[in-house]
Structure formats: C-alpha cells, structure tokens
Symmetry: C2
Subunit: 312 residues, 2 copies
Amino acid sequence: MNEFELIARLIPLMPSHPGVIVGPGDDCAVIDLGLPDRYLLFKTDAVVAGVHFDAGAPPEKIGHKALARALSDIAAMAGTPDCALVTIGLARGFDAGFVVALYAGLRALALRHHVAIVGGETTTNPERLLLSVSVLGTVPKARCLRRAGARAGDALFVTGELGGALRGRHLEFEPRLAEARWVAERFSVHAMIDLSDGLAEDLRHLLQASGVGAELLGRAIPISQAARQSARRNGPGRTPLRAALSDGEDFELLFAVAAPDAVPLTDAWKRQFPCVKLSCIGRVTAEPGLKLRTSAGLREMTEHGYVHFQEP
Amino acid sequence: MNEFELIARLIPLMPSHPGVIVGPGDDCAVIDLGLPDRYLLFKTDAVVAGVHFDAGAPPEKIGHKALARALSDIAAMAGTPDCALVTIGLARGFDAGFVVALYAGLRALALRHHVAIVGGETTTNPERLLLSVSVLGTVPKARCLRRAGARAGDALFVTGELGGALRGRHLEFEPRLAEARWVAERFSVHAMIDLSDGLAEDLRHLLQASGVGAELLGRAIPISQAARQSARRNGPGRTPLRAALSDGEDFELLFAVAAPDAVPLTDAWKRQFPCVKLSCIGRVTAEPGLKLRTSAGLREMTEHGYVHFQEP
C-alpha cells in the first residue's frame, strides 16, 4: 500500500456529522446546511508544476486549469459553482508578469461561470509552483448526481472526445457545467462522474459505487485527433482506442441514463449543444466487471487508467 | 513590490457577485447563500515544511496546526466551523507511520470542534510536505465580526500570552472558537482579528480596516514565558515586550469592545474561562496611527510584525 492508498483509507475514518450527505470518495462533498431546497457542494483540487503541468506551460493556462479542474467536479454533481479560494505556493524566482498572467487565466474562467474569487492564501513552495483551489457551489436537492445510482440497463454516455489530452487540451478544457445541469434537469440521469483518470478507470469508480458492471462498444468510444497522433508516435502497442480509454485528464462527463431516454437525449443534445459531441458508448449490466466489445469479440477490459501522482 | 504584495493587489480585481458580503482581505470570506439567519464563512490556509514548521516537527502537531490555523480564522469572525477539506502534498520518502500520525493530529482537533473532514486531495510535492486546509463554517448574521468596525474610545483586548510561539506553542495552540462566540454573543464587540503576524502587525490591519488609531499600554501587554526566554537569548536589542509585539504565530484573539463593556467583560470572562488570560491592552483613538505608552512616555510604534514567507 502506498501513501495515496493509505490516505484514501484514512480519510473515511475522519469525523463526520449528520449534515454530511456525501463525504469523501465522490467528485464533491455534499453538505446540508439548512438551505431550503439546495445542498452545498464543497471541493478542493491542487495542481503542481512537473506533476499536473510542465514547468514551461503558459501561466494563463496554468491558472485556467487550476480552477477548471475544481469546476469540473462541481459539474459532475450537476451543480452550480458560487465562489472559490485560491492558494498559491510560489517557487523561487517568479516574476510579476508570470503571476499577473496566471491570475488573468483564473479570472477569465471565473467570469465566464460567474464564480466569485473571495480570497486565498499566498505562501512559498520554494522548488515548484503549486496552486490549490477550493470551490463552493450548490445543487437542487432533487438533482444532485453522484457516482452511485447507475442501474442495469442504463445507457452510458460520454461528452467530447477522449485521449491525448496531455498534448494540450488538459490546459484548455472548459468545464461542462451547462451541459451537466441541462441533462440533469431534463433526463433520468442516474449517475455521473467527470473523467480525470481516464475513461476505463473512472468508469470503474462509477460502477463500483453503483454495484453494477458495464459493457462498452469499442467503435462507439469517441477518439480524439490527439489520441490518434499519440498512438501513431508510440508504436503498435499503443492503439488510439487504448489512448482514449486510459490517457486521462479529459475532464469530460460520463453518465448513466435510463434506457428509454437514450434516443430523446441524443436528439435534444444535438440541438442544444451542436459543438459538443455526445456518444452513447455502452450499457450498464447487472453482472459486475467491465467488458469491451470490438470486432474481435467481447473481452474483459484490462486497460488501466492513467495513474496520477507519478513523481516528475 | 514583491510577489506577495502583487497578489494582494490582484485578488481584489477578481470577479465578485452580490452574495459576497466580505471578500478578500478579512480573516474569512463571508457569503450569503440564502440561509435564513446565517452567513457562510469560507477560508483556506496552507502550511509548508521549512516555512511554517520545521521538517522534524512531530507529525501529529503538523496535522493539528494545519487545521487549527483555519479554525482560528473562523473564530476571528465569531463563527462555528462545519466541515473541512484537507489537501496534502507529499514529499518523497514519507512513511506510513508519519502519515497516520499526521491524520491523527487532524482528527483529534476536528473531533473536539465537531468539524467533519469531508474529503480532500492527495498529490506529490516532491521536495517538501505541504498541507492546505479549507474550512466551511457559519455565523449568525447579526454576530459576524470583521476587522472593520472598531470605534474611537473602544477598549482593546487580547486573549492568552504573546510572543515566542515558534518555541513550540505554534504547533499546539487551540483555536479560540468558544471564547470568540461567547464574547460576541454577550458584549458589544466592534471588530476582531486573530493574531498570526504579531500583535503590532495584526492590530495595524484591524485599525486600517476600521479607519482609526490606537494607544497601547506597554505594561498591559501579556508577555509569555517563551517570549522572555527568547529575549534573554537574543541579547539586549530584543526585549520581551518587543517579542510579544512582533513574534507572530500566536493565534490569539484581538478585539475592540465598547468602553462601557470593558469591566463587565473582564469580570465575566474570569468566571467563564478561568484558564485563559484576557488583557485590556489599550484603547482605540480617532487619530490614526499606533502609539505605545511605556515608562519612558508615549511614542509612535516602530515594531513590525513577524514577516511570514521568508524563504527557508
């Protein structure tokens, strides 16, 4: 067991109270503080130079990504972000222009999604830049989506195109806030998660939380151009499908919808979000486990998601 | 202008919205989310090895301090903490026992103050341990205390004893949550702040926010034993009074109370908190600036607070 697994075991042993509707282990914590019809959503996310972005990445994009990751988790509960706190650990030798550009990236994204930046903390982290963003949001009680809740027979949908995000998109993605709220308001969505660790890994999280399995259709997985380019460079073992299943950092939405809603959702989505692809990639099964159907037949999935936290 | 001053100027230029009652620059952000009689308090705070604690500090105490700092800010608004998220940036080579002990320190403090730990984030920060804690709390609208609000004639009070906290107390202090709520409920407290940068510096923050000045009585400043010991070691230039005024990391409360409440407060406090010292250290003046009265007469205060963020 490494430190990350250890902490994942320690956190659920921490104190809780009856107002905690969803504690550790989902995309956001969900808290009932007595708001008439809404829950609070509470989330924190950190990015570290050399771990979550290259030290040479443009500062506007670093600021953007730091906030966008946390907003993507609010989206995954079908919530609306309200305000955020930004902690910055500054490495030695940063210049004013870099810091100004970083906050400009944060500011532009916050403005687009009406998120107030209400403070934060500045410290030194001498060897590398670190940004930690905490977001507060709300969600109507009846619409709060969790990882748990998928049912056998549900159709599985994913937004956008997957794979190869580290070639650039991971610094530029727009959190799917409007899309998540729209689908949660109009269709029987049973479970949702945002894709940070790769489709294979995050789908496993959703299935485990729901106590079900799934069968994916290989040719329905939306493969990005970047995934095809990565696969071409990396040789025969690394197919575009494998990249789409396991690369990670996509920050797209994955959700399970009642089967009768699948066709009406697909039609309505095209009208509502003509520029955002929506793909039905498979279905939920009562039997646990994850299977992939390709031209070679049906097989157990062996692909593991992108593993975060590799030391640089 | 250094990076810290630059960020302090950038943060107020970030987006806001009408639900933000208090934005950047106070101990906590204060948000109106529609709770009937309460505001939300939102705060984040970070500690970094070699900056806020020695790398060899006991892990229980590191965990304790990381949460206690944020709770002290909730106390400074007379609020009640509800839940927290804990982000940990792990350096290379940490062992399981260290991590378990760190979370045990966090857990014990959270339990004492009924704070739910509802999740967090784990990442690598290869060269040094970093902990970032975000806390959500509430405060009755009519009782929310800010840095602004002190009035000429108010009596200035401080809890505990000041100075020399880096000799040990900065890793062990108990946030003054019960004390702050008690005094806010019973007396005309006009402004409050917690002491992190040293009495001289934090008092200046309170006075500037309130648009007033103050006159302190040197012999009324509560000087800790640790401050006397530090002063003895550091030679003639570093008096115990100077240590108490400027050392920082005390995490005591400083507040301004309507003058007629000063004596009743002093009497009631002794009965309510017999183990926590309360000192009336001076009074608020209409004239801006900070003056100190000692046996040598009245003089402008020159002491600056402890400066955080010195690179290790």
